[in-house]
């Protein structure tokens, strides 16, 4: 190989446009932060516009519809329907997070410019993750999305809890990354390539080999931390409770989705031939995650902490289809089911957090009791929160039912005894989950108003917009699920 004969690779800039726009927005944010000491409101606007602008090339690429390699001939970084779907999800979820952050950050005496800068950096990492089909690009994407998140978690710097949140998240995160890197190095060692497609081709030909098994297990464990699967969830409740609430929403939705994107790319492209290794592993992870998450959630008295455990449990449902996705047709349904679940989950959970932030603006608390009697003085928010809660519980006609349903469908598609047992676990768990979601509803509808304080809650415009976006998705998709089902069916690479 002659190193001097280096030729500039041909880069498809259209395919790379979303990342480029986000990068440019990051620079603009820093400049605006420098230039405008007084006009802080501009920062959130710039961040929001940047996210929406990055959505434009995603849409044009989707309309174009051809699968592309960003660097010609190199399958390490691709743009296909799967990548585009998740890029759109990350950008829109990021936009909603910006909306719910605006007042929180502006009124809370925090660094604003850096906040948006880090938030968008993290989103950039996620957008990169959606296209990564190579161990190295996956690793870079993971670090780009994680490191800003560690800092954002401890953004309330005068609060011990927030410091604890950031530190815990950071230590656990780097620990997981180390394990994952070790796994990746093993896989690279045996297969001689970092490209997932090559690793997939290699591992499919091998039988069960300890090194490959170890590599796969370590990689999955690394991302199990990211999606807070039990027993790798211990950071989540403290981090979620301590972090600024918009960041909690961001971690529980976008960061989790990014973890799933990586898991899906790794499993379905890199490890597909080794399903004997990962199927049982996901089965155990799924059952543990949903059961432990739900049972602990039952005992929570703090809404944010309750939602932390709820989001652990929700990850369990999403892991379930992976436990039975061993053959090709099952893999397709599993992939589309997880995609659909992530989209709907994003809307439900972000909506719920938007309400929590709105209510906390008045009560200054996140205890369940602070929701007492909400219906008396804020019926609109109460109805919306009720929608989000029961959507999360999976009650029709709210979108969550369809998410649950596709998970059932993907799980039962395999038709094995293990699949049926898993489905029964999901069913029983959804009943357990209803109990704690309903407890919040009970507080809002059936408990007397706390301190007899009935002053109405003022909802700033940005929060109204966030609530509206989430509510439209939750109600609309509930009645006409084909809207996301179609996306889920398209977004496959198997």
């Amino acid at each position: 190989m002659n190193l001097l004969a280096f030729t500039t690779p041909h880069v498809d800039y259209h395919a790379l446009a979303p990342e480029l726009i986000l990068g440019a927005t990051l620079v603009v944010l820093l400049l605006v932060d420098l230039a405008s000491e007084r006009n802080r409101a501009l920062l959130g606007t710039v961040a929001g516009i940047g996210l929406l602008a990055a959505l434009v090339p995603v849409l044009t690429l989707a309309v174009d519809g051809t699968d592309r390699f960003v660097i010609a001939g190199n399958p390490a970084y691709v743009v296909d329907n799967f990548a585009l779907t998740f890029k759109a999800l990350f950008l829109i979820a990021g936009y909603v997070v910006v909306l719910i952050s605006t007042n929180y950050i502006a009124e809370g005496d925090y660094y604003e410019g850096e906040y948006y800068f880090l938030l968008l950096s993290s989103i950039l990492g996620m957008v990169v993750m959606a296209s990564s089909r190579d161990l190295i690009s996956i690793f870079i994407a993971l670090e780009t999305l994680s490191i800003p998140a560690y800092m954002l978690a401890s953004w309330r710097k005068r609060d011990d809890r927030s410091n604890e949140a950031g530190l815990k998240y950071y230590l656990m995160g780097v620990f997981a990354t180390a394990i994952m890197l070790y796994g990746m190095s093993l896989l690279f060692g045996v297969s001689g390539s970092t490209v997932l497609a090559d690793i997939g081709a290699y591992t499919a030909k091998q039988g069960t080999q300890p090194i490959i098994t170890l590599g796969i297990v370590f990689c999955i464990v690394g991302f199990a931390f990211k999606v807070s699967a039990v027993p790798f969830h211990t950071w989540a409740p403290d981090t979620y409770q301590g972090a600024p609430t918009p960041i909690t929403a961001f971690l529980s939705v976008a960061s989790k989705a990014a973890g799933f994107v990586a898991i899906m790319s790794l499993v379905f492209i890199g490890f597909f031939g080794q399903s004997d290794v990962w199927q049982p592993m996901f089965w155990v992870l799924a059952v543990l995650t949903m059961t432990v998450g739900n049972l602990i959630a039952l005992r929570q008295t703090n809404v944010v902490r309750l939602f932390a455990y709820s989001s652990v449990a929700q990850a369990g449902y999403m892991l379930a289809p992976l436990a039975v996705a061993g053959d090709l047709s099952d893999a397709k349904t599993a992939l589309s089911a997880i995609t659909i679940y992530l989209i709907i989950y994003a809307a439900m959970n972000l909506g719920a957090f938007a309400v929590i932030i709105t209510v906390a603006r008045k009560t200054g608390s996140a205890e369940i009791e602070s929701f007492n009697g909400l219906f008396e003085y804020a019926p609109g928010i109460t109805v919306l929160m009720t929608f989000f809660l029961f959507a999360l519980a999976g009650i029709p006609p709210l979108a969550g039912w369809f998410a649950k349903f596709v998970i059932f469908r993907a799980t039962l598609d395999a038709g094995t005894a293990a699949a049926y047992v898993l489905a029964v676990f999901i069913a029983v768990n959804s009943v357990i989950a209803l109990f704690y979601y309903a407890r919040v509803a009970q507080a809002m509808w059936m408990a007397p108003v706390a301190n007899d304080d009935r002053t109405p809650i003022r909802i700033p415009p940005s929060l109204t917009a966030a609530l509206a976006i989430c509510a439209v998705v939750v109600v609309g998709v509930g009645f006409y699920p084909q809207a996301v089902a179609h996306i889920g069916d398209m977004a496959t690479f198997v």
């Binding site: 009650i395 039912w401 009943v431 059936m446 084909q482």
Partner: protein, 512 residues
């Protein structure tokens, strides 16, 4: 007109209440008169649409679905928007469409605490969409969605407007039924993957029509799938031993909630057996039938014994529901046309009579502020008209010939004399004897209730109290039910005839 009715009537009946609810959502809650009138007009409109459907319904072909609409809904999972009506669902739809305007009228002047007619009526309308939709749906997923839609409004109705232990009762109701329907949905999806058509090709459909008498299932698989449905429907009915949510829900629910619960919601379960579980899995149904019948007669006796032990009037009526639904399930378990016709009649009769009894309990509670039976007595002196109506309903409920209740119970007992071939006659005749004892108990607890509440002289604590007798909204809400109890008692053939075609097609696999 007929053409319009053919294509649109079912969908209009399903979604008109929802549309009404959305409009009400947008109008401020201070405007109470608007909300009341809109809710009443919407529910009357639905009733008119149902009358229209009943008018154009071809009663000679009650075994085939009519007014069918079959449209794409969720292509990705091949779930379709299929609605239609046949002889089994028509009586139940008419019952539903009748009950809803009556409860709106009944609550006209006395909404339970914490008042708020707007929210209360919106919930009733959403409930109506769920109930009507369930009876119309001919696709398993559509059915499932409507079946679940009723949960939320009922949960809030009990939880917000209910009695003292409303939090406990409402969440118990919700958890029990959700557990059942979670198992049910697993069964539905399993059917989707496993059911095969006549030529052995996989069906991959949720359409009830295509899944009829599904092939290709191993017997044990079919038994398990039926088991999942049994949990879903059996908890809703509710069958012994899943009935424990019912007394709590009924006791704590506001009057109107109890009426809807008794008159319509319980029927969703029994209807599910007749519409889905039996036609799709006839073999499994036959294997399950002896056990279902066993639970049914246990329910009859257990419900009756519990009634005798109650001190609260509403709780007593709730337990009587357990017993009555036992008769319905016994009729279903015989798997004969006669038994299923009896079941359909039993559902309608129970809806009318028990609905009426809960109305009465509500009115008594309003006047006495208690439902404790031992504090009552002499209702015939204090409010004679109400006392007589209570006596009339008690008679109807215990199955006096000539009133509607008789035609629900007696044929069900008779049908178990001769269950479908393949089921043990000796066993079912044993059940028959036990069930017959159940009617004696029923006479016992109802007459005892009547004796303790209506007869005698008022207790001292009520001296000097003046009680209003039946008031205008009560008359308007009750008279249609009272008339129907008599009319159906004298001309039961309207329902038997309507149901028979539908029942025959439901049992076609048994060659009857």
């Amino acid at each position: 007109m007929e053409d319009v009715a053919n294509h649109w009537a079912p969908s209009v009946a399903i979604f008109a209440p929802l549309a009404g609810a959305v409009i009400m959502l947008l109008v401020p809650r201070a405007n109470e008169a608007f909300h009341k009138w809109l809710a009443l007009l919407t529910s009357l409109f639905v009733f008119a649409v149902m009358i229209d459907i009943a008018y154009y319904f071809d009663y000679d072909k009650s075994g085939t679905l009519q007014f069918i609409v079959d449209k794409q809904w969720i292509e990705a999972i091949n779930a379709r928007y299929i609605v239609g009506v046949d002889g089994i669902s028509l009586p139940l739809l008419l019952l539903t469409a009748l009950i809803v305007p009556l409860v709106v009228i009944y609550s006209w002047n006395h909404f339970p605490e914490p008042h708020n007619p707007k929210a209360f009526l919106i919930l009733i309308l959403v409930l109506e969409t769920g109930m009507v939709g369930t009876f119309f749906a001919q696709d398993l997923i559509l059915f499932f969605v409507f079946f679940e839609v009723v949960l939320l409004p009922m949960y809030f109705m009990i939880g917000v407007w209910g009695g003292e232990r409303r939090l406990y009762a409402s969440i118990k109701f919700f958890l029990f039924t959700l557990f059942g329907s979670a198992m049910m949905i697993i069964s539905f999806v399993a059917l989707y993957f496993l059911a095969e058509g006549p030529n052995g090709q996989p069906l991959h459909t949720f359409s009830m029509i295509q899944l009829n008498n599904a092939q290709g299932l191993a017997h044990t698989t079919a038994l398990l799938i039926f088991g999942g449905m049994f949990l879903g429907f059996g908890i809703k009915v509710p069958m012994f031993p899943f009935h424990t949510w019912l007394p709590d829900a009924h006791t704590e629910a506001p009057t109107v909630g109890s009426v809807i619960l008794a008159a319509v919601l319980l029927k969703l379960g029994t209807y599910g057996f007749i519409r889905i579980a039996i036609p799709i899995l006839p073999d499994a149904a036959q294997s399950w039938a002896p056990w279902i019948a066993l639970l049914a007669v246990i329910g009859i006796i257990y419900g009756a014994l519990c009634c005798l032990a109650q001190t609260d009037m509403k709780r007593l009526i709730a337990f009587s529901s357990v017993a009555h639904m036992g008769f319905v399930m016994l009729g279903i378990a015989t798997l004969t046309t006669f038994g299923l016709e009896a079941a359909v009649f039993g559902m309608v009769a129970h809806g009318l009579i028990t609905g009426m009894l809960f109305f009465l309990a509500g009115s008594v509670k309003e006047r006495f502020h208690t439902l404790e039976i031992r504090r009552m007595g002499g209702l015939l002196l204090q409010a004679p008209r109400m006392g007589w109506i209570l006596g009339f309903c008690a008679m109807a409920s215990l199955g006096l010939p000539g009133l509607a209740g008789f035609w629900g119970e007696f044929p069900a007992i008779l049908a178990s004399y001769q269950p479908v071939s393949g089921l043990s006659e000796a066993l079912f005749r044993g059940y028959m004897v036990v069930a017959a004892f159940g009617t004696v108990f029923a006479a016992g607890y109802l007459l005892w209730l009547l004796q303790r509440t209506a007869f005698g002289v008022p207790r001292e604590e009520w001296e000097g109290h003046h009680f209003h007798d039946v008031e205008l909204p009560e008359w308007i809400a009750w008279v249609p039910l009272l008339i129907l109890i008599v009319v159906l008692g004298i001309f039961p053939n309207f329902i038997f005839h309507t149901a028979s075609g539908g029942v025959q097609s439901a049992l076609s696999a048994f060659g009857q």
